[in-house]
Symmetry: C2
Subunit: 345 residues, 2 copies
DNA sequence: GGGTATAATGATAGCGCTTACATCATGCTT
DNA sequence: AAGCATGATGTAAGCGCTATCATTATACCC
């Protein structure tokens, strides 16, 4: 195991050439005679030689390795982003390492030190919804990271950040969702968001408001609550909303920030004896792999996270400094239905 | 962005010492006077200097980076393993990179070349259930990888492989599951496995057989089918089983290889108009995050995958060459219930 | 106080590559 | 046949560290 590997000197000696020549064939430079190239290739083959990316990196300053920062892979949303990014990186000959970190808790473990020592060729940072007062803090962290390597952002990025980024047009997405539900006759449409609001126009909660306006529906504050974006939080949020309203005011549709929250909503609806979708339509976002297997199967938005991850890698490596938007698809399933016009109960 | 970083020479010059001394304080060697150490620390602070792990790796042969090979992160089972491994690695000062590869398709993209160039300090390989004729192939691939770095395996490892490994005692686990169901009165217990059987005694399907024997139940071949371990496959497998049997012979309980398969089973049961758990108990394995949110909530086995990942890292870095087993917990939820003794229909 | 163990520091040789730059055959030009 | 691009190879200087010596300063002993 781990027997000391051959070096470029060994190959040069074996092939009877200088290390510069070996290096040339390794990097497939043009000016090498085919006879020499052949000799070298054979020596490489014979010793099963692989150039050390470490040594290469020291000299050439490029390490062919990227990093990605995200809160947690256990959330399939991030697993999709990671997968998309990782696959794209691999295709381009890059390795991808994970540095878990949530932009929500800026005080916790900070990967900056570890990142600074690794000489990565680039870094992708998944930014979570930020409470208003976190904007500055997170921005400072990002600037610090950028001192060491190029950075591309993914997610809900405050508009004033001067970073290349890939995201969905969340507001437009939510406007479409509201229109979709309204098209089925829903007028009492609730929204269960993530952390508390701020004024970022790219946010989903803002899109929800705009959607109501487009549909000429009143904005009812009680229909809009916030949670932590988890299933438990989603369940608690809907539960509280229902408990706080007389039955006649209960919403007929609820839009969840993401599928985890939607799962919690389904659970809460079940506990309140609400039939989904007959009495309550539920729509999620992210289209997690389990969405079709919930009951009822969850209508959701496929946000093409893998593509988002892949694009981020492309931006990173191309050096283009711009913001991009990825399309989405409404996945119609059983959890949303036209509003029930028969008398309830 | 990416302004050329300070080097050890810059720090040495700033602090008025030699690079050897700077290196000493970096590695917190004892023989440095506190005055000198202080000077150096200040220079480091002032220039915001971080030693290059690349250069370090070249000299010291240790790169503080590990790799992990697994089929796909989109399967939460692997996301859990990765997370456990990654977190443990981070705690120990190591970075973790992902190399996707399934031991099932040995012919597809092979990460060996990329791995050989990276001078990783170790590699974790998640081995999937192997069809009999794959044993040798995969073993050869693993030996090839071990030429470059230490390897620790996770998962269902053929007993004759001479590699350190971490896994569950799958057979014992399945024996317990059969006993659990039998204890609720079930006698017609089906099993939906992964790839076709072989004789590996650590496998879940073998444990299923043993469990039946322990309970003095007959082994009925029609109750045991195989799929690909996905939700779709699970659904198709149960569907076919039911279609192939007269209703009176339908199993009253089904054990799924994992939660994905179990999700498929729930779906199939729904389509066949079977009430779970009144007419059919379903039990999964892995305890995915969505298990409690399925309906009915899925009874499953928590196999502590994160812990498995963490242990693998510990074995890797400690150099211990042995096999380990991780405990599991039965998570009782609503999808399993005592067998229904009333007349059906 | 001369001699010796010990702590503190410096000089320097790699680690395994890439990359100017130098060298040396070739073949073509005129 | 002298002159010169051009192609093919070699030489050697780093890249930013670690690690082994060698060297010097400090302390301690009889």
């Amino acid at each position: 195991m781990n027997s000391e590997n051959a070096t470029i000197y060994d190959i040069a000696a074996d092939a009877g050439v200088s290390i510069a020549t070996v290096s040339r064939v390794l990097r497939s430079e043009p000016n090498v005679s085919s006879a020499t190239r052949e000799k070298v290739m054979q020596a490489i083959e014979r010793r099963n030689y692989r150039p050390s990316s470490i040594a290469r990196g020291l000299t050439s300053k490029i390490t062919h390795s990227l990093g990605i920062i995200l809160p947690k892979l256990l959330n399939p949303h991030y697993a999709m982003i990671f997968t998309g990014a990782q696959e794209e990186a691999r295709k381009l000959g890059y390795t991808m390492s994970l540095f878990p970190w949530s932009s929500l808790d800026t005080d916790a473990y900070n990967p900056a030190a570890m990142l600074a020592e690794r000489r990565l060729d680039g870094l992708i940072v998944c930014v979570e919804y930020l409470p208003p007062d976190h904007d500055e803090l997170v921005h400072a962290s990002l600037l610090a990271l950028r001192r060491y390597m190029p950075v591309v952002l993914i997610g809900c990025v405050p508009p004033w950040y001067d970073f290349p980024a890939v995201s969905n047009d969340n507001a437009a997405m939510m406007r479409q969702v509201v229109a979709y539900l309204n098209g089925m006759g829903h007028e009492k449409i609730a929204f269960i968001g993530g952390v508390q609001e701020d004024k970022d126009p790219s946010r989903r909660d803002v899109g929800y408001e705009e959607g109501l306006r487009d549909a000429q529906l009143p904005y009812i504050a009680s229909y809009r609550v916030y949670g932590k974006g988890t299933a438990e939080a989603g369940k608690a949020a809907l539960d509280e909303m229902l408990k706080g309203l007389k039955r006649e005011y209960w919403p007929t549709a609820v839009i969840a920030l993401n599928d985890l929250v939607a799962m919690g909503c389904l659970e809460a609806a079940r506990e309140h004896g609400l039939d989904v979708p007959r009495q309550l339509s539920v729509i999620g976002c992210d289209d997690l792999f389990c969405a079709p297997y919930l009951s009822p199967a969850l209508t959701s938005i496929n946000t093409h996270q893998q593509q988002t991850g892949a694009r981020a890698v492309q931006l990173l490596l191309s050096g283009e400094r711009r913001r991009e938007t990825v399309a989405w698809d409404l996945m119609e399933r059983a959890s949303c239905a036209p509003v029930n016009t028969e008398t309830e109960e």
